[in-house]
């Protein structure tokens, strides 16, 4: 659930939906609004909303499996394709288990302003009581079962972690990646999600707008990726040799899955099958198209030819930038956001990348962090009260960007230091030269 609403709006929405408190109210009295997960009767659940959310779960998970896997695998050198794909699959499974073990509870229970409580830890909660005809819902999305809400959130946790892979490919130890992501998912991702999306989170209380994860997902992943790239050091031959991508056709297929899946990412964040979700879907599409065209134009101007990789990168840039704004802006604003992101992320993946000097292999920072920053900041002036009832504030958006980026930077750095102590970070030279497919998995692509 990506919408920021004031506490008053939450109470109003809950009252309108007929959500019940954990104790049955007196006859004729309005049900008390939920302030934490609680049981409601079956008829408090919206079938349409639930169906749409379950569809969105599938769409967003497809973005990772196999969307991100293909997108990235197509861009690495042949000798590390399997490792890249294995990294994404392993992260999906690992984060899934950690989510229900602890991550969901840390992110989406009231707790305090900084992190949630332990009430959903250890695979607990998600009650479905057939005889009592009650099901538990989250206070954030009281029209759908909490199981559905938690699964939707999980798909975001998964893709955020999977995006980091793009910065570390071709040189990070598989074991180190698993250790790092385990810690990062619980100690970096979950708290940031709590700050922005839990109504009691400190950024949510300040009014920071992030409909579907511009900061929680993209700035977070992008900054983390950059920190990882600095810690790992550049790949051998970086800057001297040409690192030819394995198969840009795979990258295109992955990008296409991202584009379509993003409808679930953004429109699903409305947590309802309604007009706002429909508008979010439309603005997502417009921004993707604008981003693709803007990047293409920039590349055509600078390099003399458009490229498939540029088109794919541009559409992703547009999608990233519209993510925080998708529940708050009009189609015209989406066009602007997508176009600005296309150009900004082109610079992020070229000129800015040179300035930063890190081997962010697949431009996770240049596309996701830069795009997320562009979108988050533009949400401030472009958020329309007509659409969401919320007004944006550029200063608050900037604070949100800085807070998330700063925490991701410091948190990731500390966890990388710990991971380095535990298992080391980088494969040895021989493994790197031979390729991680053989070195880490004893597998290779066919002929």
């Amino acid at each position: 659930m990506r919408t920021f609403v004031s506490l008053a709006a939450v109470l109003t929405a809950c009252a309108t939906a007929g959500a019940w408190a954990q104790s049955v109210p007196a006859a004729g009295a309005a049900p008390a609004p939920l302030t934490r997960p609680g049981l409601v009767p079956f008829d408090a659940i919206s079938g349409a909303d639930t169906a749409w959310m379950m569809t969105s779960i599938a769409l967003v998970l497809l973005m990772t499996l196999p969307g991100v896997a293909l997108f990235y695998a197509g861009m690495v050198r042949r000798k590390s394709v399997i490792n890249t794909m294995a990294s994404v699959v392993a992260i999906a499974a690992l984060v899934s288990l950690l989510w229900f073990a602890a991550g969901y509870s840390l992110a989406f229970t009231p707790g305090n302003a900084w992190f949630g409580d332990a009430s959903r830890m250890g695979f607990s909660g998600m009650e479905y009581l057939k005889d009592a005809k009650q099901v538990v819902v989250s206070h954030i999305a009281p029209h759908i079962p909490e199981s559905v809400f938690a699964m939707f959130q999980l798909t975001f946790a998964i893709i955020t972690a999977a995006l980091v892979v793009g910065a570390v490919v071709e040189r990070m130890k598989f074991s180190a990646l698993l250790v790092f992501i385990s810690l990062w998912s619980l100690l970096v991702y979950a708290p940031i999600a709590h700050w922005v999306w839990e109504p009691g989170g400190w950024l949510a209380r300040l009014g920071a707008l992030d409909f579907a994860g511009g900061s929680v997902v993209h700035i977070n992943a992008g900054v983390t990726g950059l920190v990882c790239a600095y810690f790992l050091g550049p790949r051998r031959g970086y800057g001297r040799e040409a690192f030819e991508p394995f198969n840009l056709g795979l990258t295109m297929v992955g990008a296409a899955m991202l584009w379509v899946g993003w409808f679930g990412f953004n429109a699903g964040s409305a947590a309802a099958a309604d007009g706002r979700a429909g508008l979010a879907l439309l603005v997502t599409h417009v921004a993707a198209a604008a981003g693709a065209m803007a990047w293409m134009a920039g590349e055509w101007l600078m390099r003399g030819r458009p490229s498939l990789l540029g088109l794919c990168s541009g559409l992703v840039a547009g999608l990233v930038a519209i993510t925080p704004a998708s529940g708050f802006v009009t189609p015209a604003s989406a066009l602007l956001i997508g176009a600005v992101a296309g150009i900004a992320c082109y610079w992020g993946a070229t000129g800015l990348k040179r300035m930063l000097g890190a081997d962010d292999s697949l431009d996770v920072f240049g596309v996701h962090a830069v795009g997320g920053i562009v979108g988050s900041l533009l949400t401030g002036p472009l958020a329309s009260k007509m659409v969401s009832g919320a007004e944006g504030n550029l200063a608050v958006q900037a604070l949100g960007v800085a807070a998330v980026a700063g925490y991701a930077l410091v948190g990731s750095a500390l966890l990388l230091l710990l991971t380095r102590l535990l298992v080391g970070l980088r494969v040895d030279e021989q493994t790197e030269l031979a390729g991680l497919d053989i070195g880490q998995h004893r597998e290779r692509l066919g002929a």
Binding site: M302, R303, A349
Partner: protein, 111 residues
Amino acid sequence: MLDSQKLAIAAHLHVLLRRKTGRVTDTEWMVVNQEYASEVVRFARAKAREDHHEDLAQWADKLEAVVLGTPIASVGPDSLLPSAARTAGQTALDRLRERARQEGSYVRGLR
């Protein structure tokens, strides 16, 4: 540049060295190991000076350019030297464009 093209350059130098100096080299290792490639380039240039084999020097230059990425003045029209593009009358945009084109082909970045 494709790996196959690099191998082709390495193979050509290998044949020249074998023919003109009797030295046997490892073609594949030349492409993947920069220290080895540096040594082969040094040897080929030394032999080119001593025995006046101009083609040895030229192919040594080509190998150095593709494996070690070192801009060489003797590389032909498709020189990687950014300075070659900087003339007095160029605009800033022209310089940016030239740099973007010369840094293409997946060196220092995919995009």
